[in-house]
């Protein structure tokens, strides 16, 4: 499982370069995200899922676990949900727990506007 990480002063963008976050990938995903978010100075992390076509309940659990590991001082947003991933977040009502952006670039605009 590969990732593309990009950090600015305010933000850490983590793009998942994998088609699936499934049971076979969930542990690796969680460990990698724990490492990236732990090392980052930025307190606002945006997980770009635009390349991910499928997530299962194990993958969903791993995303929640990452948010919990980051604690209350850091923030995890999601961006670029593809249709099946969006469906899983909507049906489980996890779309009410995370702030979800249509595209990762939209988060930059929030900072410029603010």
């Amino acid at each position: 499982m590969k990732f593309d990480c990009r950090e600015t002063s305010d933000l850490l963008f983590v793009k998942v370069l994998a088609e699936r976050i499934d049971a076979a990938a969930a542990l690796k995903f969680k460990d990698s995200l724990r490492e990236f978010t732990g090392q980052a100075k930025a307190s606002h992390v945006v997980l770009d899922l635009s390349e991910v076509g499928f997530i299962d309940s194990s993958g969903l659990g791993a995303v929640v676990a990452v948010m919990k590991l980051m604690g209350s001082t850091k923030r995890l947003d999601l961006a670029g949900l593809t249709p099946t991933v969006e469906k899983v977040f909507r049906l489980t009502r996890m779309d009410s727990i995370f702030t979800i952006h249509a595209q990762a670039e939209d988060v930059n605009k929030l900072y410029k506007a603010g």
Binding site: D22, A23, G61, A65, S72, L91, T92, M94, S96
Partner: protein, 151 residues
């Protein structure tokens, strides 16, 4: 050895060894075949979510990490209904049968958010007419998913 005896009646069937990577490969093959059956991307997404949960449950709970065995999936289409049968020779479900699949509560503090318990909820939300029976040493799970076809 083959688990599924009625392959001639099915529109699609696949048999593979238990394992997380084997499930991933089997799903890819099934989805590829479904794309040739005049289904919408939304229908195919629902099938992938439900089958992913059902198959990984078999890997994790019926066979568990200590055991291996075969899993068989077959599909029969009748108009707008896709009827799936999934067979395995792992341990049986608890006597209370299929889990209710209630959504875990999300209203607590951050560190109380659930990291699991979504699987059966997704299955029950997207599939209907779920039926489970133990026949000899085999688990048989059947479920249906509605499909709209190309919209």
């Amino acid at each position: 050895m083959t688990l599924y005896a009625n392959q001639a009646q099915a529109d699609l069937c696949l048999e593979f060894p238990s394992g997380e990577l084997e499930v991933r490969e089997a799903l890819a093959e099934l989805i590829c075949k479904l794309k040739g059956m005049d289904l919408s991307a939304d229908d195919i997404g629902s099938v992938e979510v439900v089958l992913g949960e059902v198959l990984n449950n078999i890997v994790e709970h019926a066979y568990g990490t200590q055991n291996t065995g075969l899993i068989a999936v077959s599909l029969k289409r009748a108009g707008h209904v896709l009827r799936f049968h999934v067979l395995d020779e792992g341990g049986n479900l608890p006597s209370e049968g299929l889990p209710d699949g209630r959504l875990p509560p999300l209203d607590g503090p951050l560190d109380a958010l659930p990291e699991g318990g979504f699987g059966w909820y997704l299955v029950r939300n997207l599939a209907f007419d779920l039926a489970y029976k133990r026949v000899g040493e085999t688990n048989e799970l059947a479920f249906s998913i509605c499909c709209e076809g190309h919209g």
